[in-house]
Every structure is written in structure tokens, then in C-alpha cells.
């Protein structure tokens, strides 16, 4: 199954079939989830209607982490099997994960203004998400800095895996740092138990967001594969033109190239 999917051509045809379904399903689930979140779920007795921000905020946070894990898994694929599809998956996941992390931070601070009276506090959770966004930024910068796709993929894989080792350390130290400064945390996450009337819309939204994330990831991967094909074709074309200039008479077929550049 995986081996069959790993062929980029096979992947393109299968993902082409699957993508509209996953995308459509995510739209349906998100519509249901948003309906539940806005009209069915009760307003919190303390937080009022602002609690509804949570239905976007929590799934975004989960997907921000989910895509880092996806990148780390693909990075192993890139480094161990040198598989082009793993490179593509890694590259497509980075901006999506960064976007979800950003959504999580923005919705979090919008929620924080009415609840805590400030857009930003140096709470441990917020700070670790901010650091995650910084790491995403570094990964995106490295992708853009190295032009040759295979070399870029290998470099980013190493960075991603070093990050995967370091993120728990960062998380732990940020927690420690915050408890040092503010022993009694004033922020309570939702309360001790989550009532089903809130939990069900939240889960529906989480499923919808995950489907959306998968659809975006597939679409990003397809775009990246096409981009690489265009790149290879452009190089071939340039080489053909070069050869044509060197030998005015068309001398045999274009130079054969296997693999991406």
C-alpha cells in the first residue's frame, strides 16, 4: 500500500481522486461543527460567548503540533530512504503547520483580551506555541534559502529532527521558567471537567480541522510535485536549447536525465 503510494505518479492519480472527497467532507464537518459551536453549544457562565473562540483555537493548536510531527516523520523518510515524496510531504506541511500555529496564537490572544484583560501574557503555553512558530519560521526560511530541492530537503530534515529532539526540552524549560515567575497560575484551562455540550462541538471541529489540514497537505504536495516537474522540464528544455546552440544541426535526442535535476 505504502510502496504503491510512494510512486509519485501513482500518488498524483490517487490523491487527485481522494482530494475532492476529503475537501468536501471537511467542509461538511466544519459547517456542522461551526453550527454546533455557534448555535447549539451553550455560552459559558463566566466567559460568555467568547468561549466559542475555543472551538477554533484548540483544533488549531492541535494541528500546529500535528504538522510538526508529520514533518518529523517525513524527515525520517527523507533521510533514511531518500524518498522524494517524503521531501514533498515535508515541504508541503511546513507552511500549513505554521499557519495553524499562527491561528492558534491569534485566536488565543483575541480570547485573552476580554478574559485576562490583555492580548498577551507570558504564560507557558502561549510562549511554547510562540517558540514553535519561530521554529516553523526557521524551517521555512531554510526551505527558501537552498535552491536545489534535494539538498534543501536533506538540510531541512536535519533541522526538523534536531527540533523534534529540542521541542520537548523547550516546552519543559518554558514551563519551569513560568512556574518560577508565577507560582500560582491564574489561568485555568476550561475548568476541571468539560461538559458534553461543549465537548461534542469541540470534537466535531477537531475532526473538521484535521480533514481540512489533510486536504491542504495533499493539495500542497500535489502542487509541489507539479512544481518539481516544471522545474525538471525547464532544465531539460534549457539543456536542449544549449545543445541546439552548440550543434546547429539537431544531433540526436535530448540528453537523458533520470531523477529530479
Amino acid at each position: 500500500m505504502i510502496r504503491e503510494l510512494a510512486n509519485p505518479t501513482r500518488f498524483m492519480s490517487l490523491s487527485g481522486i481522494a482530494l475532492p472527497w476529503i475537501g468536501g467532507l471537511s467542509a461538511v464537518v466544519l459547517v456542522v461543527g461551526l453550527y454546533l459551536a455557534f448555535f447549539v453549544a451553550p455560552a459559558d457562565y463566566q466567559q460568555g460567548d467568547t468561549v466559542r473562540i475555543m472551538y477554533v483555537h484548540v483544533p488549531a493548536a492541535w494541528l500546529g503540533l500535528f504538522f510538526y510531527v508529520t514533518m518529523a516523520a517525513s524527515a525520517v523518510g527523507s533521510l533514511v530512504w531518500r524518498h522524494p515524496l517524503a521531501d514533498v510531504s515535508q515541504k508541503a506541511a511546513a507552511p500549513i503547520g505554521a499557519a495553524f500555529t499562527l491561528i492558534c496564537l491569534v485566536t488565543g490572544s483575541l480570547w485573552g483580551k476580554p478574559m485576562w484583560g490583555t492580548y498577551w501574557v507570558w504564560d507557558a503555553r502561549l510562549t511554547s506555541m510562540l517558540v514553535l512558530l519561530l521554529i516553523y519560521g526557521g524551517i521555512l526560511a531554510l526551505w527558501n534559502a537552498i535552491e536545489e530541492p534535494n539538498r534543501a530537503a536533506r538540510a531541512v530534515s536535519i533541522l526538523t529532527l534536531v527540533g523534534a529532539v529540542n521541542i520537548p526540552v523547550v516546552k519543559f524549560s518554558v514551563d519551569w521558567w513560568n512556574t518560577l515567575h508565577q507560582p500560582a497560575s491564574v489561568f485555568r484551562m476550561g475548568g476541571s471537567t468539560i461538559h458534553p455540550s461543549i465537548l461534542v462541538p469541540l470534537l466535531v471541529m477537531a475532526v473538521g480541522f484535521t480533514l481540512l489540514g489533510v486536504a491542504l497537505h495533499l493539495s500542497g504536495m500535489r502542487t509541489e510535485i507539479l512544481r518539481r516537474r516544471v522545474r525538471t522540464l525547464t532544465i531539460l528544455e534549457a539543456e536542449r536549447l544549449d545543445a541546439g546552440l552548440a550543434h546547429p544541426a539537431p544531433a540526436g535526442p535530448a540528453p537523458i536525465r533520470t531523477g529530479a535535476a
Binding site: A141, A145, L180
Partner: protein, 222 residues
């Protein structure tokens, strides 16, 4: 292997001493930052004494970044990195030698000069001792983590800027525990040893991650 390690270490130290004087430059940079901060915050010595460890640690992080982009780039440009890759000694040993040389020329001068700079921010003697101890233990972690970024950006033309974006997030734990240990020595509820031992652990982990990560990055950059 030990011989090539020693040879590379001596070569890098000699290069640092003869070419850039990077140790002195790092010190001057460190001094410049420590001088700048009172201008921003005001000359209140009580305030400066309270945030002194934080100032010195941030200065140390920035000073570590200063020469980092040249760590592998200089060797990449003149081709000696290719020779090092071909040598029988594993790349990990080469990275270890280069990072050690880098730390000896940039980190160690900061550690030695820390008491002097502590005077500028009115640190107490215990505070100075704690600063020396935390910088001595913590700056190798900064150098090792930075080496990964330096190896990843060795062949990039404008690597320096990306390098700082890449490595700064990973230096946060070192900074947190370095400052925490120094502050703990100045008084507070946390005993000095708790953050200090964690700082040591971070340095050891960074040494492993940094050495293998940077060697892998150099191999990937071939």
C-alpha cells in the same frame, strides 16, 4: 583520530589568533551590549543588579552568534571542508574539534571576563561567581547548538541571518536555566543547584545533538 582531532584544534586556534582575533572581538561586542543596556534602562544600579545576570546572558548568546556563520563557511569557501570530509577521521570528530576551538576562542574569554562585566552591572561577589559558573557550563551548549545551524548554512551566501533565526529558538532552554541558576545564587526560593544541574544536562544533551546534527548537516551539504 586523536591526532587529527588535536591537529584540527590547534589549526583552528592558530587561525583564530592570527586572522580575526575573534576572541577579542567577541569580548568587545560583549562589552558594547553590556554598555548599551544601561542607556536603555537608566543608570539605576539596584535595577541593573537585579537584572544583571539576564543582561550578561543575553550578551553571551549574542556574542556566540557573532562569529558562528564563519564556523564552517570559511572552510567551505577555501575548500578545506572538502578535505576534512575526505579525511579518515569521522566528521563527528571534526565537528567536535571545531566547536571546541570555537568555544575556546569565543566562549571561554566571556567566562573569564564575566566578573569584570559583572562590576558594570553591580553584581555581588556571589553573583559574579555564579555568573562565571553558569557561563562556563552553559556557553558550550550555545556553541554546540549553533554548530548545527552553522553547518546547515555553511554553503549559503547570506547564511548569517538565517543562522540566527534557526538557532535562537533552540538556545531558549540554555538561557532560561543559565539565568535561573545565576538568579538563584543571588537569593530566592530555588536552590542554586537545581537549575544548575539542569543546565549541565542541557549542555550534555546539546553536545550530543550538536555534534551528530552538525556532522549530518555537513554530509547533507556535500
Amino acid at each position: 583520530m586523536t591526532r587529527s582531532f588535536r591537529a584540527l584544534l590547534i589549526r583552528d586556534l592558530r587561525l583564530a589568533a592570527r586572522v580575526g582575533g575573534s576572541g577579542v572581538m567577541g569580548l568587545i561586542f560583549f562589552l558594547a551590549i553590556v554598555t548599551l543596556i544601561p542607556f536603555a534602562l537608566g543608570p539605576d544600579l539596584n535595577l541593573l543588579a537585579r537584572i544583571g545576570p539576564a543582561i550578561l546572558w543575553i550578551a553571551a548568546v549574542l556574542a556566540t552568534l557573532l562569529g558562528l556563520d564563519r564556523l564552517f563557511q570559511a572552510d567551505e569557501e577555501d575548500g578545506s571542508l572538502d578535505l576534512l570530509r575526505l579525511s579518515p577521521a569521522p566528521l563527528e570528530v571534526i565537528v567536535l574539534a571545531k566547536v571546541l576551538a570555537y568555544w575556546l576562542t569565543t566562549g571561554l574569554p566571556l567566562v573569564i571576563a564575566a566578573p569584570l562585566f559583572g562590576l558594570l552591572v553591580a553584581l555581588s561577589p556571589e553573583g559574579m561567581l555564579a555568573m562565571v559558573a553558569t557561563l562556563l557550563v552553559g556557553t558550550p551548549a550555545l556553541a554546540f547548538l549553533g554548530a548545527v545551524g552553522a553547518a546547515l548554512t555553511a554553503s549559503l551566501r547570506r547564511g548569517g541571518l538565517i543562522l540566527s533565526i534557526l538557532v535562537l529558538p533552540f538556545m531558549i532552554p540554555t538561557l532560561i536555566f543559565g539565568v535561573a541558576a545565576a538568579n538563584a545564587a543571588l537569593g530566592g526560593t530555588v536552590p542554586f543547584m537545581t537549575p544548575f544541574l539542569i543546565l549541565m544536562a542541557i549542555t550534555l544533551v546539546s553536545a550530543v545533538v550538536g555534534t551528530f546534527g552538525a556532522a549530518a548537516a555537513l554530509r547533507a551539504g556535500e
